[in-house]
Symmetry: C2
Subunit: 195 residues, 2 copies
């Protein structure tokens, strides 16, 4: 069924009448994207948020020396955007790219504002989404302070099992805030322990 996982995602937190559901779906744009497609490029106006229906995406920051730092991964059933630039309607600081063939539903900023006015339950829905995003970041800060890189890698592969094998090691390393060499040492140690 079209929109099934999107609606399941919404129904986790709010209920909609038929007409509210139809309005919501009418505001979304479905996009089928090949691997390595940018849904957002650094510098480009960030005016939409994407729901990942299938596939996976990666958001990264590219610094002046050309070094990429992975800020987050977004897998099936996640919403992803450069939130700071989306909320403030600014050119994106981040680039968001598919790491495999993906299907996303995109919602424009103006349409989201209309949705808040027409269907106020979406205030609740996005309140919970923002709350989850914020506490995920808070948890990451505390884990960076309290756990070893190895412990954080173990959490990572549990949380994103579908990502671990699809992206470059240096992308995972930059997400964990360690060097690719250090990550490779952790993985070597891990495989020796398992053998």
């Amino acid at each position: 069924m079209e929109h099934r996982s999107l609606l399941e995602n919404v129904y986790k937190h709010i209920a909609l009448t038929d007409s509210e559901r139809e309005l919501f779906l009418s505001l979304l744009r479905k996009r089928k994207l090949a691997r390595k497609t940018k849904v957002l490029a650094q510098g480009q106006l960030c005016d939409s948020i994407s729901f990942v229906d299938s596939g996976a995406l990666r958001a990264f920051y590219l610094d002046v020396s050309g070094r990429e730092s992975t800020i987050m991964f977004a897998v099936r059933d996640w919403w992803v955007t450069d939130m700071y630039c989306f909320i403030n309607t600014l050119p994106a600081m981040l680039t968001i790219e598919t790491i495999e063939d993906s299907i996303v539903y995109q919602l424009k900023k103006d349409d989201l504002e209309q949705l808040y006015r027409s269907v106020p339950q979406f205030e609740r829905f996005f309140r919970i989404l923002m709350q989850n995003a914020y506490i995920r970041e808070q948890l990451r800060v505390v884990q960076n302070l309290s756990m070893t890189a190895e412990e954080r890698y173990n959490i990572f592969i549990k949380k994103y099992p579908e990502v671990a094998n699809k992206v470059k090691q240096k992308q995972i390393a930059s997400y964990l805030g360690i060097t690719a060499e250090f990550l490779s040492m952790i993985k070597r140690k891990k495989s020796e322990t398992l053998n």
Copy 2:
């Protein structure tokens, strides 16, 4: 006027009828706190969120070796809690302490849930609050990647002018993710440039 800055904070984003305002205020507990009072201690159940009416607070993580890492400062007109533990009703990971005499209004988790049901506009209010908290964290991650420690210190003293002189240098340094020695070097360089 009692509650003035609290209500101004709320009215920035939503409107309330008289009875809604009275309900909201009835759920809050005013606390006058001396300097160095803990409003939350690591390990203690985190069941309330605090609005800073006056004064300033600091949230920090204490690691097993006894090292404190400052996670955030909360000044007048801010809301502060250990959000991860508040939302999940867990023992706090963070300690939150006043850095000067302060007045806060506290709202319990259960009362907030009741408020969402009785006055749904608070979904909007906290949606915007969570959104701002999340984008602040996102901005901090990107600034850590894209700016020098000196640039981040300059942003810090502009954003929290009232904090800079009230806390220990090592607390500011740990918030910026640098050593106290490095911060002192930055400040020395800055004062030499100004002279």
